[in-house]
Symmetry: D2
Subunit: 346 residues, 4 copies
């Protein structure tokens, strides 16, 4: 089969690899129908995720059709259409039983990371019964691909952890795909005000179209001052960090209202300065989270009932065999006005 | 001044009464600008609320302008435009400190019940600081009147107590004004399916227009069977009782899914049969609640930000002096296709 | 092997039965070391649980040693000492993923009910990975047996559903083993007052010894009046029904304070009268629940750290082969002053 | 009257001051019966709290007797015995209505800070109805003094924010009075393991006596290594920072388990380094809080029912007129083995 293979920092190729085979009784082999590229894949390609080794097939998102299941798989059979979760969950360990699949003793984020991933014609999925989800007939396939990672990440790490409530003022820092996923799913809870902060006017335009009530280009304006001026000097009830650098986290801490919640979604490579000398008395909550995908069934229902339109995040379509072109587009997101790209297998 | 006065079961008149005066230092006198009629007022007029005595001015909803405040009132001053809450809250007792204003030691629902109410040119409001809310300039006055009672009642007793969540299946039994208020505010939480059950096709049409995904006329169809057929035989995650008779409560109990919540909103005059012989093992929750109006500030924000359109509930307008005509319309709601009526003072 | 077999209402025998064998890859065969008898077993023997058929081995509690595991079992191996949960959980279905194991699509309460149970020398346990728990070396075996059913039932159905909080007034109606399990685990949350109501003075004495601050013999005194007199006329914050008849449920409803929670634990055979005509406005919550055993790992930690002494519930010990004698004792609990009995295999 | 007056960094005296008088209708004048000294008072005396100005009477804790009330005070009258909360709450503003009294628009922590405090023979208490609590007859007065600040602070900022649950592993960093208050109130929730970390062996001995299951002297041992070794390498479910310096906060962050909660109680003067490069994916929660004293009524019940023994925190007693000696003792806490001191007026 063909697959997108990582060969060390800066190097990848679309090349022939052996088809995956069942290794455990709980595995399934899935023929990939659609997949996508994640910002994390770019991090890997920069060499920022050293546990990814030469020869690894990338990708942790996608939908497809069951090709074969191990003897212990009871929920799925050959021919079933399935959504692949970016998080593998054994369903048995303490973390899985608590709904914290991200920290599964044997699973978690392993696809396209510690084992071969989904940017390929076939993929082996461990713990298939508890890591795949059936796709209902009426579903829009492109929208369903957004349930592999970006929508549960935005929703769980940003919206649920931020405890967004009706009438709240929510500030999202970072209008990339993940910040926009926060924006889409925050609207489940009817916040009164959603302010999107970014440095790219195109993305801020997208944010407006997706439901932001206000946008701030933080290169042009003092974002802290703007947020306070938009909130009668109160600050944000919820601030979502969706970039992953110290400046944006510290911006969240600077604009949070007493009693507010800072939900970190970004993947950070450095420590940040936390101003406890002012924050200690402000009754705030800061959360971090690797997505658990525990809300995937809930989000599936919101997609099927059109409360959530996952396709809004999709700007480009490619054939799976054109994945190198798709990477080029995604790597130049600003130039290409790209959010998520969909790769479809023949 | 003129006021709508109760004179025993079946008897009311629009008559001259002395203007109210300050009795406590925490009182305010409000000149009524707009008020409305509640289903509860009709109950009183039937004689169902015996603690309401001859001579009582009815009404517990409305907006107006502060005419005079007692010496202990610090939040409001003459001329301020205010929303009157149907629940008076002293702000000091244990119940008030816990946010359960409905059971305030000295307040609760007293307006138009134990003391004179708002269907008059002036009204005395006890505990003004904690029972009135300022009306922002940009507000739509008619929408704000809906915050006195019906919107917080639907939201608190139905939606919050029912714990509506994204993707849920919500069934509302009773498409009167209060059931429709539940319907409007349930949508804050992005349920996938909202089924409205009633016997009046006009009200079911309104429900569809207000966001119900399905409607059932329970005189024409077997509502239990319909709900199970619409939910792949699972039943409702949330069932809201918004009528107040045994049959509708028992319908809610018959359609609830394991793990589901039955939120009672209706005012009941009789006991109901609770089938614990089947329900004991179904992990359900049943709640009752007299509205606390603790969410009024939150709902105000959703009104001002247009996440909630309270005016949808309003079908008729009258001059305050035409209140007898308004009562006639409201008493014949089916004939008149009436939901809420607004009475406006000159 | 020998087993306790049900032969229709009123009939049981300790007789020879074939050893169980693995039927599914996820099964385990457990050699029983200790088991016990549940009030539910007595219900079955009265004929109250018609889905239990002639020839069924009873029992859904116990500990033992793994004898054999199916090919898909990964957590346990021959020789492991395990706690058997009364609830079988597949770990894969929607209910299991939500922590509502009681309603598992293929499991739930099936042991000694729909499949053969634990009152035998060996038992087949379905979904072994997610229905058994390892027993740490230092554990007191008798205490661990109480984790199969009675302690999680008291804790989940009574204490968690009742939302017991520090300083609360908790009333428990029914001082049988399950009511006492509520009493023991309620103390995790430091309620100020725990009132136990029963008609048996011996059990009330046990309740006092277990931590009840007050007891009421409801045959000697008016329980409603007593509760209000003990609570400065406020009523109970939490009322736990642990009997299963209309009178005791209705007693809970009569003593509940505004804002209070009624947690039903009892197994009911008849409907009850729910006085919504008074309760509709009292902001109460009523819950039902079949135990999910989702808190078993948490309770295990409280047992191991001596925050909870499960052995307090145990009054009698028998050899497993003397189970008919044990049944006789348990059936005459008042006469024998029996709470839980432990049956130990040689 | 006599009072303890601050005269700039390092300077205080017990001197004659005019008696306080009512300034607002909602004020009460309380004759102090017992008061105490807080670590915060020492901070003020070091000059760390610049908004405290020369001439200010210190102290924000105590009990006493109502001497006089303003015209708007309805809950208390001359002669009532009252607990003074360290947080003044107007009961009317948005923050107060949400239970976040610490951020009351006009109140919050003002006593002995922005207005004269309780280390005096008399004190003026603003918003008396919502900032004082009646003391029941049977109460132990010394224990009640601990409800002014230290017990609600430990409970709200440490235990509630840390979401302590039965079976949890709780680590408390700092065994001063506030850390010990966390320790006492954490036991409301039956954690399995409570590890206290400090550098003073006397305080660690006290911690053991108060219920810590393990203690670590972090000057003698590597605290991080010890915590992981005590928790089978999992880390803490809850880590409470009760010192207020970067090193102790960073220790909490180093020992927290995935899914854990870090509750900051300490008052910080400097920023800390937050290692988001490792924490971003660990699903943790960090909270800060200035005590709201919203749990004072709940804690009062636990004191009265002997679930909580506040007197354990008290090591020394002085006459109020010996307050300078008491300060000396409290300032040399290690030498004097002092926790809280009680000052009693004649």
């Amino acid at each position: 089969m063909k697959a997108l293979v990582y060969h060390g920092p800066g190097k990848k190729s679309w090349e022939e690899k052996p088809n995956p085979t069942l290794l455990q009784a709980t595995d399934a082999i899935v023929r990939i129908y659609k997949t996508t590229i994640c910002g994390t894949d770019l991090h890997i390609l920069k060499g920022d995720v050293p546990e990814v080794t030469d020869g690894r097939i990338l990708g942790h998102e996608g939908i497809g059709t069951i090709e074969e299941v191990g003897s212990a798989v009871t929920t799925f059979k050959k021919g079933d259409r399935v959504l692949i979760s970016c998080i593998s969950s054994c369903g048995k360990c303490d973390y899985c039983r608590k709904g914290m699949y991200s920290h599964c003793d044997q699973g978690g984020w392993i696809l396209g990371h510690l084992i071969d991933g989904t940017q390929a014609e076939y993929v082996r999925i461990p713990f298939a019964d508890t890591s795949l989800y059936p796709i209902p007939e009426q579903a829009d396939d492109d929208a369903i691909v957004m349930l592999s990672d970006i929508l549960p990440t935005g929703f769980e790490c940003g919206v649920l952890n931020g405890q967004v409530k009706p009438g709240d003022t929510v500030v999202i820092v970072g209008a990339g795909p993940i910040g926009l996923a926060v924006l889409l799913t925050a609207q489940f809870y009817a916040p009164a005000t959603i302010i999107m902060i970014d440095v790219d006017d195109n993305r801020l335009l997208a944010a407006k179209a997706f439901g932001a009530t206000h946008t701030i280009n933080s290169q042009e304006k003092d974002a802290v001052k703007e947020v306070f001026s938009l909130t009668e000097n109160r600050g944000a009830d919820v601030a979502v960090e969706a970039v992953g650098i110290p400046a944006t986290f510290e911006l969240c801490a600077a604009i949070i209202a007493p009693g507010g919640r800072i939900a970190n979604v970004g993947v950070h490579g450095k420590s940040v300065e936390l101003h406890l000398e002012t924050l200690w008395s402000r009754n705030i909550t800061i959360t971090t989270r690797l997505v658990d995908t525990v809300t995937t069934p809930m989000l599936m229902k919101t997609i099927l009932s059109h409360k959530l339109d996952g396709t809004k995040l999709i700007t480009h379509h490619f054939a799976l065999s054109d994945i190198l072109k798709a990477y080029d587009t995604f790597e130049h997101a600003a130039r290409e006005k790209a959010l998520k790209v969909i790769l479809t297998s023949k």
